[in-house]
């Protein structure tokens, strides 16, 4: 795999990670505003989901 391809894959991975984390943070904010039953959900860390 040449350096050009490696750089492209790395750029895509970095962009993907940034989009994923940004989207996750935004969803949490929206969910916290809307949900009646609290933040307990798949990523809450409580392990009950």
């Amino acid at each position: 795999m040449g350096p050009g391809v490696q750089n492209l894959v790395v750029a895509l991975a970095l962009a993907g990670a940034a989009v994923y984390l940004g989207r996750r943070a935004w969803r949490r904010v929206v969910a916290a505003r809307q949900r009646q039953s609290g933040p307990c959900g798949p990523d809450c860390g409580c392990g009950d989901h």
Binding site: R28, C40, G47
Partner: protein
């Protein structure tokens, strides 16, 4: 029963939507186990009252129709005394906005404690809604010296009674059939009860007085239950020791000690295995990919970050195995009873103990479980201190620092110093929680502390299936976090550590350590450094601490990524070894010392670095501005405590002449 059992057509709306069924009953009668058996869901179950504090929903198919089931928190009567009971009553009576009352109510009654369970049952029968009674745990009757005449019970109550053993899934088909049929039958009435209680003159719908209800229940028990005398149960003999004034607390502390020892000693071989697997994967990637950006991203960034967190998987599993054992054996409620004596002078109710112990796993469900505490100020004080209990997300941080800086020696020929240090961190959090509760209860949340009344469940051998499920759920969640959030953060941090690429005067790439220092991450770290320098930390720890506000484990993955970049792919050494070997490039002295590690661990004991916990506190303390104030107070007082403790340890250590690092 006042009406015949001839089936009637379903109400028109139930023909097009699923039949709605609510499971209700006393706390710890097996509702959630029955819910799991009916729906195939994995709702959390344990052997103490108050496990379910919110409604949970699931469904199953029967005779081609979908049946929707809601599992409700336990309650002793329809007059709620705590927030979790209020939820159950609201759902049952259809008081929740947008939710109709259930079509069929399934009263889950513990066969061993039928008399107490019938109190709630009669109240529900008074509602005049289609009802079925699931008589749970009938397999224990013989051992308890009891026999229940189910046919007579059906006759007395005027309602279908199905004997079930929810833990083994016995009786589920009959129960499903009875539920579907109940929706088409006329609802039972309480005419017989009213007649027997001499309350015929009471206006329709008026509730019977408690003494009338108990009198009627006593009669039912006499006619349906036979008991034979039995010798003192093993459970009673065990309780004589476990609940003893002196032995009780000693046994509790001993169990905690065993748990933390196990987390260190049992997990070691497995952790070493995972470390070897991570190193082998890194070597495999290095063998396939030529040197370059992508190889560095995968080996130094992704594997450096995620791999350094994955190593702690066995310890997380052991922690949850022990907590599951304590919960399922029936010990947890007893521990609450034993510890009530010590918590009362601090202003905490004995019921606060279970949320506090649950906090060892995760503060989010622990805060939710405070709903079982009736008095608002006692509940609020518990919410405010629960996050001081060291949750499982702190475990990787403690373990990394203990493994790096505490010698692996045995103390007293029995306990490892590393295990004792871990226990010390958990004790520090626990003592801080109790101390903070005492302060809250004497200032903002002052009120009288009430006596503890708690039901002690029978001891039982923990079910391997339930235990395995509980541990698996936690392991799965940990792996999911490692594979999503921690992976993404590791990739992003690698990008910040790797760019912009620094060049020397000759235009060639600079050494990795210099590249790291001049990268975007390095610059952010140097900006943060003045705030953490008084604690003895360098910019690398500062950056990792800030990143760990996303999730505490991210501290470890960030350090893993930073050292992955700094060491340019040397994945053979574990992160702990790298930290020990780290030297200040200027002075040549050790960059990190045991003193710094102790201060850092103390910081993580006290700091509230968990957005989910802050959100949950906001909601459970009333939401809106009021909740926001409580959540802000919680975050702030814990951060101040964390900084002060880390500062005192580091500066105090320096004054005592202990090593302070670079």
């Amino acid at each position: 029963m006042s009406a015949g059992l001839r089936p009637q057509p379903l109400p028109p709306e139930t023909a097009v939507r699923p039949l709605r069924v609510a499971l209700v009953g006393n706390p710890n009668c097996g509702k959630s186990t029955l819910f799991n058996a009916l729906t195939g869901r994995r709702q959390r179950v344990a052997n103490f009252p108050g496990v379910t504090v919110d409604r949970a929903e699931g469904e199953y198919r029967h005779d081609g129709a979908t049946v929707s089931v809601v599992d409700l928190p336990g309650m002793y009567s329809l007059a709620p005394e705590s927030p979790d009971e209020a939820i159950a009553v609201d759902v049952l009576l259809g008081r929740l906005p947008g939710a109709e009352p259930p079509d069929v109510i399934v009263i889950v009654a513990d066969a061993e404690n039928l008399e107490r369970n019938l109190f709630l049952a009669t109240e529900i029968l008074e509602l005049g809604r289609p009802t079925v009674i699931a008589l749970n745990r009938v397999d224990r009757l013989a051992h308890a010296g009891m026999q229940i005449d189910v046919v007579e019970l059906i006759h007395e109550l005027g309602v279908v009674v199905i004997p079930v053993v929810a833990t083994r899934g016995e009786g589920m088909d009959r129960l499903r059939h009875a539920v579907s049929r109940a929706a088409t039958l006329p609802a039972p009435t309480l005419d017989a009860i009213r007649a027997a209680a001499g309350a015929q003159g009471a206006p329709a719908g008026a509730a019977l007085a408690a003494d009338q209800r108990y009198r009627w229940i006593a009669g039912v028990m006499e006619r349906t239950v036979t008991r034979r005398p039995r010798p003192a149960r093993l459970s009673d003999r065990v309780d004589a020791v476990v609940l003893h004034r002196v032995w009780g607390p000693i046994i509790f502390v001993g169990l905690m000690l065993v748990m933390f020892q196990a987390m260190f000693s049992w997990a070691r071989p497995l952790a070493d295995g995972i470390q070897a697997l991570v190193a082998a994967t890194a070597a495999g990637i290095a063998a396939v990919l030529p040197p370059g950006e992508l190889r560095s991203l995968l080996v130094d960034g992704a594997l450096g970050g995620v791999g350094s967190v994955l190593v702690f998987l066995p310890q997380i599993a052991i922690l949850f195995l022990f907590i599951g054992l304590l919960e399922d054996s029936g010990y947890m409620a007893r521990a609450a009873f034993v510890m009530d004596r010590y918590m009362r002078p601090l202003g905490l109710h004995g019921k606060s103990f279970i949320p506090l112990i649950s906090g060892y796993a995760c503060a989010v469900p622990a805060i939710m479980s405070t709903r079982t505490i009736q008095h608002p100020k006692e509940r609020m004080a518990t919410i405010m201190v629960v996050p001081l209990m060291s949750c499982s997300a702190r475990l990787p941080v403690y373990t990394l620092l203990v493994a790096a800086f505490v010698p692996a020696i045995t103390v007293g020929g029995l306990f490892s110093l590393q295990g004792l240090t871990m226990l010390g961190m958990y004790l520090l959090g626990t003592v801080a929680a109790l101390g903070a509760a005492a302060v809250f209860r004497r200032t903002l949340l002052r009120s009288e502390t009430r006596a503890l009344i708690i039901e002690l469940p029978p001891y039982s051998l923990p079910s391997l299936r339930v235990l395995g499920n509980s541990v698996w759920q936690r392991v799965r969640l940990f792996l999911r976090r490692a594979g999503t959030v921690i992976f993404a953060i590791s990739v992003l941090l690698w990008g910040l550590a790797a760019y912009p690429r620094a060049r020397g005067a000759d235009g060639r790439p600079v050494p990795p350590e210099q590249q790291l220092s001049q990268s975007a991450l390095g610059r952010i770290g140097h900006a943060i450094e003045p705030a953490v320098r008084p604690l003895g930390y360098d910019w690398k720890i500062g950056v990792s601490m800030v990143a760990s506000f996303a999730a505490r484990e991210v501290f470890v993955s960030t350090m893993g990524t930073i050292y992955g970049v700094a060491d340019a792919g040397d994945s053979r050494r574990a992160l702990a070894q790298r930290l020990r070997a780290e030297r200040n490039p200027v002075t040549g002295r050790a960059a990190y010392t045991p003193l710094i590690a102790m201060g850092l661990m103390a910081f993580y004991v006290f700091a509230l670095m968990c957005t989910s916990t802050v959100t949950m506190t906001h909601k459970e303390t009333g939401g809106g501005w009021r909740g926001a104030l409580w959540a802000a107070l919680q975050f702030t007082y814990m951060l101040v405590m964390a900084y002060a403790a880390a500062f005192a340890i580091y500066r105090g250590g320096l004054l005592l002449g202990l090593g302070g690092g670079a």
